[in-house]
């Protein structure tokens, strides 16, 4: 039997949807008992949300003023302190989980599996490498704790009809003071979150300026879509870093993805391969984005976008 501990991701009292996706992955492991750990200064609200996740039987709440901001250096020893008896420890492959989980693995003296996209067996998984240009089936030793991150774009969040027990636990360990949170500059946006949006509109370097990117925002708003960008558009300063899609940005899987003025470098394409339908708008008929697009339109984005926005608003 597998006993799996998931580390919850949350902010401002709200459980991040990445946790429900990790549960969906863990639930594919045969004969698994799934627990979720909530590290917070006051984790009651997050624990109540986590308790609703189907397949989860127990929520462990570790309240500590030091957990007001989730720093890997202070969290990792606490995760280790409550990890006895677990066969697996999972976190999401978001920046939160990518930062934390290898630190946990090293403290436990084990290697880590990054970005699980498919469960083959309790210790065997499939994951992408080389920007998704190859998939590898990996096997972890069965006699050691298995630490992994889950590629959240590969999973739908599990249903919210569960009723897990909630228990307060203490993580008995010394916490380092060498790393201090200063501030979070979060992008303010009323638009759907890029990683959970059903529709995403993204722009690239061809937009040419921060002002022109307004065309992307307008189309996104007409569609009720989230907004993304290629690395080139972020590097050029048209939009902030949190909008970047690709190998080193966000991996997304919306039902509809519209790439506008994005050439489609492999590093970008790996971030959108799981989208339901990919639409490409580009003036270069040879742009690689057309190789993976379901629907393509060759032309000037500055002419196409206003027309498209009007058509979908009608």
């Amino acid at each position: 039997m597998s006993k799996i501990l998931l580390i919850a991701e949350h902010a401002n009292g709200i459980l991040n949807s990445s946790t429900g996706k990790c549960v969906a992955c863990a639930a594919e492991i045969p004969d698994a008992e799934i627990h979720v750990a909530v590290f917070a200064d006051d984790g009651a609200a997050v624990a109540a949300q986590a308790a609703n996740l189907a397949s989860v039987t127990s929520i462990l709440v570790v309240d500590n003023p030091a957990n007001a901001n989730l720093l890997a250096a202070t969290l990792a020893p606490q995760v280790v302190a409550i990890s006895a008896g677990y066969t697996h420890i999972f976190g999401p492959s978001t920046t939160f989980g990518k930062d934390l989980m290898p630190r946990v693995a090293a403290l436990l003296g084990v290697n880590q599996i990054s970005d699980i996209m498919e469960v083959i067996g309790s210790h065997s998984f499939k994951r992408p490498i080389y920007a998704g240009n190859a998939l590898v089936t990996v096997e972890a030793p069965a006699d050691k704790t298995l630490v992994a991150t889950v590629r959240v774009a590969s999973y739908q969040a599990i249903a919210g009809d569960g009723s897990a027990n909630i228990d307060a636990v203490t993580a008995d360990t010394e916490l380092p003071g060498h790393t201090r949170f200063i501030e979070l500059q979060a992008g303010k946006s009323d638009r759907p979150d890029l990683q959970t949006a059903a529709r995403v509109v993204a722009g690239g370097r061809a937009l040419g300026s921060e002002e022109s990117f307004d065309l992307i925002f307008k189309l996104a708003d007409a569609l009720g879509a989230g907004v993304g960008a290629s690395r080139a558009a972020v590097d050029a300063g048209y939009v902030p870093n949190e909008t970047q899609i690709g190998q080193t940005g966000k991996i997304i899987a919306p039902e509809l993805y519209i790439a506008i003025g994005i050439s489609g470098a492999i590093q970008h394409v790996t971030g959108i391969k799981d989208a339901g339908t990919i639409v490409a708008i580009n003036k270069d008929p040879d742009a690689p984005i057309f190789e993976i697009a379901d629907i393509g339109i060759v032309g000037d984005l500055f002419a196409i976008l206003p027309e498209l926005q009007e058509a979908v608003s009608a």
Binding site: L71, K144, A186, T248, K250, D294, V312
Partner: protein, 249 residues
């Protein structure tokens, strides 16, 4: 500060479209262009800028692998690093063993800062820096886009999913760098000549007495699923009709 240690991995160049071998035993690397992992190149550049500002005395570039990695270390030296260390092994090195190798070198060199790329573009693991910080018992600031050194502290801006997070860490620390930290310099021919005279130590992995971690077995490689061929529409009317057909708008 005195020393900055920079990790540098030899990987398949980012422009190469990697192919899986037909027998599923791995990806084709024979005759393929190899380069410094792009994130590591940014780490070298940042270390050099810190030194050039007068905030560090020495930049040491380190790689783990076969003697082929000398080529990438020489590039690091040509960029401006002072010396190089190659930890030689013919075997593939897992992330935890790699972190232990860096830990062994830290014991020899006592650096004030270790700069690494946030991930290598071959295995896409994003693990070594975090593991090293854990083994060393020191701070980690991952996915960094700016790094400001002030005495025995560093202020780091991290690119996180919701925006930018700013943390302060005591030195020594491990910082893993993201794409927007800087634009690495181009290497000039005279620098390549000069780099040939800079010291490059080769240390057999066995000499470091590093405990070999139990690895994750890579059982089978396969190409990703191909998407079906799409259609090209003539105009916006055609696009809207196609989206309607799929029930997407």
């Amino acid at each position: 500060m005195d020393k900055i240690l920079v990790g540098l991995k030899r990987v398949v160049d980012y422009n190469v479209r990697v192919r899986v071998r037909s027998d599923g035993s791995g990806v084709e690397t024979d005759g393929v262009k190899m380069s410094i992992n792009p994130f590591d190149e940014i780490a070298i550049e940042e270390a050099l800028r810190i030194k050039e500002r007068g905030d560090a005395n020495e930049v040491i570039v380190v790689s783990i692998g076969t003697s082929d990695a000398q080529q990438q270390l020489r590039t690091g030296l040509a960029m401006g690093a002072d010396r190089a260390i190659l930890v030689e092994t013919a075997d593939a090195v897992d992330a935890l063993t790699g972190a232990r190798v860096f830990q062994a070198l830290i014991e020899r060199e006592s650096p004030d800062l270790v700069l690494l790329g946030k991930q290598a573009i071959d295995d896409d693991n994003s693990q070594t820096g975090q593991m090293l910080a854990a083994l060393w018992g020191r701070p980690q600031a991952t996915f960094a886009s700016t790094l400001v050194i002030e005495g025995d502290k560093a202020t780091v801006t991290r690119e996180v999913d919701v925006g930018l997070e700013i943390v302060e860490v005591d030195l020594p620390a491990v910082v893993t760098v993201d794409l927007r930290m800087n634009d690495p310099r181009y290497v000039k021919l005279p620098d390549i000549m000069k780099a040939k005279k800079k010291p490059l130590d080769q240390i057999p992995l066995a000499d470091l007495n590093v405990e070999q971690a139990v690895g994750i077995d890579e059982v089978k490689f396969e190409p990703p699923m191909e998407r079906d061929k799409g259609v090209i529409v003539e105009d916006v009317t055609g696009l809207v009709a196609a989206l309607n057909d799929k029930g997407l708008i």
